[in-house]
Amino acid sequence: MNATQSHVTRTTSTARAAMLFGAIATAILIAAPWWAGRADMRLMSELFLYMALASLWNLMAGYAGLVSVGQQAYVGFGGYMLFALTIFGGLHPMAAIALTPVLGALVSVPVAILIFRLRGAYFAIGTWVIAEVFRLVFAQVLALGGGSGSSLPVGIVRSLADSRSGREALSYWLALGAALLVIAVIYLFLRSRKGLALTAIRDNELAAGSLGIDIWRTKFVVYVVVSALTAMIGALIFLQKLRISPDAAFSVNDWTAFVIFIVVIGGIGTIEGPIIGTLVFFLLRETLADLGTIYLMVLGLVAIIVMLKAPKGLWGLVRERFGLELFPLGYRVEPATGKKED
């Protein structure tokens, strides 16, 4: 068999099946306001927002090697911007949400220039310092309630939709849309030229650099894009909560610890990992949450065991066993057998 007979393809039959399944699932989820109860919709919204946060963190840590424990800086920033833009700027909440990624990107540029001076694990703690600075600064802003925080005024909430069920449906669709948007952006980004450079950096930074990839710039772009989208997710999170305070907005446990556990358990460095990790995380939470602190200890222990025994996570185990890839990122050569002609 010679080379001209085989052809290069990016997709597989599994991926096509997954795509079809994904489309059907999305259609069912879009229709949720007509079949799901109020509590289920709240839970699913939260799940989608965590899925988005985990996917974003995974792009940074799993692909760009930027392990941050300070993404709560942008979650909180986005939440506060939603409140500030609607209360003082007089903007419609939807306009404010559309604006938060722009502001998030603007803030992340000087932050990146400063903390990119720190390497590896020191970078991680550096991001935490930045998040603490954000928390302490917003706690000083008395107009936004200072240390005790503030609530979103009723008038602004009403401007979303007239009826309560209308507001709930809208807020659900926003969460679902945000998760789909984030996953689509990451998928398309990784399939692009820049994504190829990023994957090369993940696999071997030295070799990638010697091939002419600008490592600093690629990481910088990833950091800014991830921070911008994280700010938008933050705005959506606090649109659901309707109340914000510095401790809740910049919580390292809620917006970083859980997200890291999701990604590690699901499988770091894959698109599928954070999605599966989020489902597992919510399954564990709904069954074990009554245990309180014990539940968190179990979660920490599971993450440590996964990291030591199966560092590629649940999806890594599945992929090794069955060779599956639901989001086709690579290229594969298919030998032409002669029988099949496309």
Binding site: G65, V67, V133, V137, M297, G300, L301
Partner: protein, 286 residues
């Protein structure tokens, strides 16, 4: 005079931060490990001190005789049992494993001791003070600072004048060659972590005598220690003392301007130094 007072008090506070930083700097120097659970281990030491003082009716400083060996043994066990498996070229495993450890310690303390703030009772030592040229200096902060200087001098001496220190420097320079020379690097790493947590134990007990503490404050202590390490310059043990003092002074001077600005002023001093001198003020000459 008030400003001089703020600077002097900040310097003494810096001694405590230097103790937070010394343990962090030590293990980074020996095995390039950044321990995210370091702050929670400091808090754990404070709680061990509390339990010891209450159960045995001991003075907190006497409790060190129990807490220090306990933490050192825990450090050796932790390193040999868990952390050695994470070391390699990839920085992700040690980071995430110590992060998981941090969550476990924090919630275990919450389960065992509740979220109520606790404090150790050190009797007259807490309020004793001496007057010096118009300034009033607490005996406890002075003692903390003296202990910090002594421990850092002791670490410096251990590193450069003992067989153990030679082993530390050897595995730090090249693990494989050190292994060929007959050093068991897993054991050496275990000893480094034991020494680090022994220092952490002292820091934790002194913290618990000085202020009240609860299970959630670990992250903040980690950040203070980390800032002191970076300000002072990576790999320089005396630098951590300088870094701790600069951080302490920035905080007390910040608090003097506006009480809400105490912690923020420390972070800003750190970020400014990171912007102008990314390698810290006193990086190790190589």
């Amino acid at each position: 005079m008030e400003w001089v007072n703020a600077i002097v008090q900040g310097t003494l506070l810096g001694g405590l931060y230097a103790l937070f930083a010394a343990g962090l700097s030590l293990i980074f120097g020996v095995m390039r490990l950044v321990n995210i659970a370091h702050g929670d281990l400091i808090v754990l030491a404070a709680y061990l001190g509390l339990t010891t003082t209450i159960m045995l009716g001991m003075h907190p400083l006497a409790a060190l005789l129990i807490v220090v060996p306990l933490m050192a043994a825990a450090g050796y066990g932790l390193q040999r049992g868990v952390l050695n498996q994470t070391l390699g070229d990839d920085i992700l495993p040690p980071l995430l494993v110590t992060f998981g450890l941090s969550v476990i310690i924090q919630n275990a303390l919450l389960e065992a001791y509740s979220a109520d703030p606790q404090k150790m009772d050190a009797g007259v030592l807490e309020t004793a003070s001496i007057s010096l040229g118009g300034l009033t200096l607490g005996v406890l902060p002075l003692l903390t600072f003296a202990v910090a200087v002594a421990i850092i001098a002791g670490l410096q001496w251990t590193f450069y004048h003992t067989a153990l220190g030679r082993a530390f420097r050897a595995v730090s320079d090249n693990q494989d060659i050190a292994q060929l020379m007959g050093l068991n690097r897993r054991h050496v790493f275990g000893l480094a972590m034991a020494l680090s947590l022994a220092v952490t134990a002292v820091a934790g007990v002194l913290l618990g005598v000085r202020t009240s503490f609860d299970p959630s404050i670990g992250g903040g202590r980690l950040i203070f220690g980390f800032e002191a390490v970076i300000i002072g310059g990576l790999g320089n043990i005396w630098g951590t003392l300088a870094g701790g003092v600069i951080l302490g002074v920035a905080q007390t001077v910040g608090a003097k301007i506006d009480p809400g600005w105490q912690i923020l002023a420390g972070h800003i001093a750190f970020l400014v130094i990171l912007a102008v001198r990314p390698n810290g003020l006193f990086p190790r000459m190589t």
